[in-house]
């Protein structure tokens, strides 16, 4: 297979695996945030913030994939 093809697969894996990892991390946080919000809507802001923290790892994946594709 051409090198370009391998690079594209690598870029896809970087985003995809990071997404799965973030999803697994978020399941507990999201459930807890929704639980807290159901009891007290005042937790909305903090709950949302905590839930998206694992998303940062996806950004790393995205950056890696951009580097692979356009460097």
């Amino acid at each position: 297979m051409a090198v370009e093809g391998m690079v594209a697969v690598g870029a896809g894996l970087a985003v995809g695996l990071a997404g799965i990892g973030a999803g697994l991390g978020e399941q507990g946080i999201g459930a807890a945030a929704v639980g807290a919000m159901a009891e007290d809507p005042g937790f909305f802001g903090r709950g949302l913030l905590m839930t998206v923290i694992p998303e940062t790892i996806v950004i790393f994946g995205l950056v890696v994939s951009f580097l692979l594709m356009f460097m």
Partner: protein, 347 residues
Amino acid sequence: MISKIIKRTKISEWAYIVARVKVMKRKLIPIEDYNKLLNMDLNEIARYLEETEYKKEIDELAFRYSGVNLIDHALSLNLSRIYSKLIRISKGLPKDLIVLYLRKWDFWNIKNILRGKMFGFSNEEIEATLVPAGEFDGEFFKTLLAKESIEEIVNAFKGKPFYSILEKILHGARLSDVEDELDKFYYTSIAGLSAESLDSKYFIDFIRMEIDIVNMKTIIRLKKEGVPAEEIIPKIIPYGYQLTEDEARKLAAMEMEEIYKAIENYWFVKDLKEALMTQPISKIENALTRIWAERMIKKASNYPLSILPVLSYMLLKKIEVDNLRILARGKESGMSVEDIREQMVIV
């Protein structure tokens, strides 16, 4: 691997219920407020409760009851609603465990109905003590209350595993013995289960610790009343956490001074030893309940993603309702602030 990932998704079931319960726990009456409450009269207490989680129940019942009866009914109703809510908002294993724990209230209600009927209390008085939170709902207990004879009430449970215990009343057994057997049935049916996972082990250990506390209370109360060991031993519940059945039996046969020495190494003994010799029974029982609750709060924070935070909330809610009831009843009967404070368990 996939099955492992699917299994791990159970974390979200715990996270959801524990987060909700933690927010609910913040709404419990803070310790500082008890000092204020102790200096209020009945109407002020009712008004205070109207500003808390009990508002809905007080408003709902205010046209039917007043004074201490209003507070009593509102507290029972709120407790059963909170328990039903916990069942409603949980799912999977957390729900199963909560339902299992709340079966305790079925037995509580059955005992109250039988006792109330036997001693001629009015249906309304009995109803105020009921907390329909377990397998049977409020409607079921209302139909039980409407029944005339004890026999009809007992027969309503035909086919249930504890029917053979209830049936003994019809054959002339003492009510107190039947009540003890019902308690024993409840505890052994849970504590006798083998833990399939770590989550259910936490739950079973909780029940076994509760058995320790119940056994210890039974032994101390009956010992102080001078009941002979032969009568205490049948009341002991097996499957204790640290206090095994054999050890509990040995304690039952000892004198108070020996018990004082023998229980030295048990988990519930903290702060209790001094109280044991000099204090009245009610204070010792309160001390045990407090030690129990404090231990649970600590354990719950050590194992946040488990059933323990939910159980510790249920325990604290029950203690709060009991405290408020003692407060209302004490104020009505004109007890002094100090006497009421001594009866309450403030954790």
